[in-house]
């Protein structure tokens, strides 16, 4: 990259087939661009959740609808166990990251695989909960909000799982090292965001 731009003195950009690369861009910030991009993306994701929480607020607080809807019950305990599963996946992910930073490949692979499995378990329990919860989003606005918020979160878990899956595949193919671990760290930030968001969703939907 640095070598490519240095000798470039030919201005004729119509000249096909000459492949000097771009000049190295100046780094005007200590923040890694990929990391900053992920953080900004997470801000916009928080706002998507914010809009769904706005809907929740309007229906539960402004409308004053009964929560949960009359005759329905939310499985607080099972969801609590599920919360623990998801939160522990954040710990295993951190373990994986620390391992690769110390060039401990076995710990890294075990950690990332475990994280993916825990995430998949969470999603499975969530879907199972949908099957047995006893009401549908079509029944009432409370059901709509329940499925809307948990479903939105579930979709994010699914996206996070896809990211983790590709990290896992690459981990078992021998990618990443103590120096090159941005590809673990940045999807990892997203996964932690998904976890933290679940705490908010769990608190507002199930507990409050």
């Amino acid at each position: 990259m640095e070598a490519a731009g240095a000798l470039a003195h030919d201005h004729d950009h119509d000249d096909a087939g000459h492949h000097h690369g771009p000049p190295p861009a100046n780094r005007s910030s200590r923040v890694d661009p990929q990391m900053l991009g992920m953080l900004l993306f997470i801000i916009s994701e928080v706002m998507v959740f914010g809009a769904f929480f706005t809907a929740y607020f309007f229906i539960r607080v402004v409308q004053g609808a009964e929560w949960p809807a009359a005759g329905t019950e939310l499985p607080v305990a099972i969801a609590g166990v599920n919360t623990a599963i998801l939160l522990s996946s954040s710990l295993t992910l951190h373990w994986a990251l620390v391992s690769i930073k110390n060039e401990d490949r076995n710990g890294f692979r075990a950690g990332i695989l475990l994280t993916t499995l825990l995430g998949a378990t969470f999603l499975f329990v969530q879907i199972n909960e949908y099957v047995h919860v006893g009401f549908a989003p079509q029944d009432h606005a409370q059901g709509t909000i329940f499925y809307g918020l948990t479903g939105l979160h579930g979709a994010h878990v699914a996206i996070g799982l896809l990211l983790l899956l590709s990290v896992t595949i690459r981990a078992f193919r021998g990618h990443y090292s103590a120096k090159e671990h941005a590809g673990v760290e940045i999807p990892g930030i997203y996964w932690h965001f998904v976890d933290v968001m679940w705490i908010v969703v769990y608190a507002t939907i199930y507990i409050l």
Binding site: H9, G21, P24
Partner: protein, 629 residues
């Protein structure tokens, strides 16, 4: 042939579109079987799933995701050969390209195409409104016309055209070789034609007809054409979020050495502020349209009052995006005008820091005024007064900008050519629109004129007289840089004067008929408004014709205009210090910035220093026109 179908490009895109349609069918069939329903699929749900899935298949076929899939599968990394960077012929503009300059031109040309379609739709509306009664179209079609007009011009023109201009000049201005995420940049562009074609395709099934605001539950009970808007907006929104994120990362991490935040040109500041608004606000419209889609397609109850749903919630969520969106549609224009007014007055911009801070103030205040769109919606009374106050306050930072531009002009040596004419046209027309905006902030008045043509007049003064004039100014100003050719100055002036005069005859009378009570969004009106409406319609046709002058000028100048020098305006900002059009990677070596961007007429002032210079570009000299002092 199989090679063509395997390689990224249009052949594969067409193949993937077919696969996407089949995938949607399979998905629905499987889902119906899973729920124990009759697996025979109805066309409506097939259409809806296709609307969501086919664009992704199309983008995949075109090659927008290839590198990422390659990466995610853990295959050996391929060094980038830059074969997707830069234009080699006109074909490069119809493919995935990672060069911000190519993407910028793709954006500008695409969004102008949608502007001409949206403008033609407006002509049709004005033809219907030329006389009272119903002549050309029925009521529902008329609703469709104004909905498509607004949706196209807002989501497919004003917002992306600014992103396009900034895409071209912003990396050059800050001394970056490209945007931070070039592939994401290409993806954001290609989502735009998808969104636009989808909105236009609604004409095949009957256009969406609940306005660009698509208020629920009107929008959840419309014919299926409404979903072309609901889903199309998702793609336009995703495109603008991705671009905004890209701009922010580029501005924060890729500025040239020495370019501190307070040495950035105001266009960069403007896009920084706009991108903040987009990243924070746009998810709200995405969510609001998801609510509508879920209510419409799956029978959810977000807006079903009978099932504890909340109808007004739609308007709150929608306007929490769409009020900041009016600044998304204006702040980049402020940036463009700041560049042009400083250069063409040969004076430093007045109050540079206040110009930057007022942009940030607008970003913050922009989030506090959304409910002023809902004064007559029946929301809680206590929200009204705070919203009236914040709305009046937001005029203050805007006023600071207006006065700063005026002070920049004051005793300057004005070069009144086409870009400057449009900049001055903006200044006057936007001020008028801003004043009617402050009037509209006042509760007693807005309740009187709500949903009347006064609103139409106000919004066209700020969006046409404001935003579009800055777009024209920017296109003329950077045309030499983007194409390497000069435009025809005489035609440019002709374009300005016809536009300016016809614009005012079209939209000024709308204030009058609005105050007298003519309702907007209705295809018929009372006899007493007939004369004014005839005048408005005739002027609007002239306004439509004026764009032909623009198109002719742009096309003929691009093909055969005189070669443009590197820096025809004697500007200081970095994009003018490289050749026209710029080299494929912008700079051979990133320049060093040693001073502010607007030091016109300041003896010895330098903005950027090029170390070993370009072969054909002299290092920037401080332009010291003696006349300026």
């Amino acid at each position: 042939m199989t090679m063509k179908l395997r390689a990224p490009g249009w052949y594969r895109a067409v193949l993937y579109v077919g696969l996407g349609v089949l995938f949607s069918l399979a998905l629905i069939t499987v889902a119906r079987l899973g729920y124990g329903l009759d697996p025979v699929v109805d066309g409506r749900s097939w259409l809806l799933v296709s609307l969501l899935a086919v664009p992704l298949f199309f983008l995949g076929g075109l090659g927008a995701f290839d590198t990422w899939f390659h990466w995610a599968a853990g295959r050996p990394t391929r060094p980038d050969d830059h074969s997707q960077h830069g234009a080699t012929s006109w074909r490069s503009y119809f493919a995935i390209n990672t060069d911000h300059k190519v993407i910028g031109i793709q954006y500008v040309v695409t969004s102008f195409s949608f502007m001409f379609i949206g403008g033609a739709v407006a002509m049709l509306m004005r033809a219907e409104l030329a006389q009272p009664g119903s002549q050309l179209v029925d009521g529902q079609t008329f609703n469709g016309l104004f909905s498509v007009h607004a949706a196209l011009l807002i989501f497919l023109f004003i917002i992306p055209v600014f992103a396009g201009l900034a895409n071209y000049v912003l990396p050059l201005m800050i001394g970056a070789p490209d945007m931070a995420f070039p592939r994401l940049n290409a993806l954001s562009y290609w989502m735009l034609p998808v969104a636009g074609v989808m909105m236009l395709a609604s004409f095949l099934v009957g256009p969406f007809a609940s306005g660009w605001t698509a208020y629920a539950p009107l929008s959840t009970t419309q014919p299926v054409g409404q979903m072309f808007f609901t889903i199309g907006v998702q793609f336009a929104g995703a495109s603008s979020i991705a671009t905004a994120l890209n701009f922010l990362v580029t501005i924060i991490t890729m500025r040239a050495p020495g370019m501190s935040f307070f040495r950035m040109p105001l266009l960069v500041w403007a896009n920084f502020s706009t991108s903040l608004l987009v990243v924070i606000a746009t998810p709200f419209i995405a969510a609001s349209q998801f609510f509508v889609l879920l209510d419409y397609a799956l029978g959810f109850n977000f807006f079903q009052a009978g099932a504890n749903g909340d109808v007004l919630m739609y308007q709150h969520v929608f306007w929490f995006y769409s009020h900041p969106a009016v600044y998304i549609m204006m702040l980049p224009g402020f940036g463009i005008v700041s560049e042009i007014i400083a250069v063409k007055s040969r004076k430093p911009i007045f109050g540079y820091r206040m110009m930057a801070f007022s942009l940030l103030a607008i970003v913050v205040l922009g989030f506090t005024v959304w409910a002023h769109h809902m004064f007559t919606s029946g929301m809680q009374d206590w929200i009204r007064i705070p919203m009236m106050v914040t709305t009046a306050i937001i005029a203050v930072p805007t006023g600071i900008k207006i006065f700063s531009w005026l002070a920049t002009l004051w005793r300057g040596v004005l070069h009144v050519d086409t870009p400057m004419l449009f900049a001055l046209g903006f200044l006057t027309m936007f001020t008028l629109g801003g004043i009617s905006g402050v009037a509209l902030a006042m509760l007693p008045f807005v309740i009187h004129v709500s949903d009347s043509y006064f609103i139409v007049a106000h919004l066209h003064y700020v969006l046409f007289g404001g935003s579009l004039f800055t777009v024209y100014a920017g296109v003329y100003y950077w045309f030499p840089k983007m194409t390497g050719r000069m435009y025809d100055e005489t035609l440019g002036r002709l374009h300005f004067w016809v536009t300016f005069v016809a614009f005012n005859i079209t939209f000024a009378p709308m204030h009058i008929v609005g105050v007298q009570g003519m309702p907007r969004r209705v295809s018929d009106y009372a006899e007493q408004f007939a004369n004014w409406n005839l005048i408005i319609s005739l002027a609007s046709f002239v306004l439509g014709l004026s764009t032909l002058v623009f198109v002719y000028n742009m096309v003929s100048s691009w093909v055969g205009g005189p070669r443009a020098p590197a820096n025809p305006w004697r500007a200081l900002t970095l994009e003018w210090q490289v050749s026209s059009p710029p080299p494929i990677f912008n700079f051979d070596a990133v320049p060093t910035v040693v001073g502010g961007p607007y030091e016109y007429g300041v003896p010895g002032a330098v903005h950027g220093v090029f170390k070993d210079g370009g072969a054909e570009v002299a290092p920037p000299k401080p332009t010291t026109p003696s006349v300026a002092q």
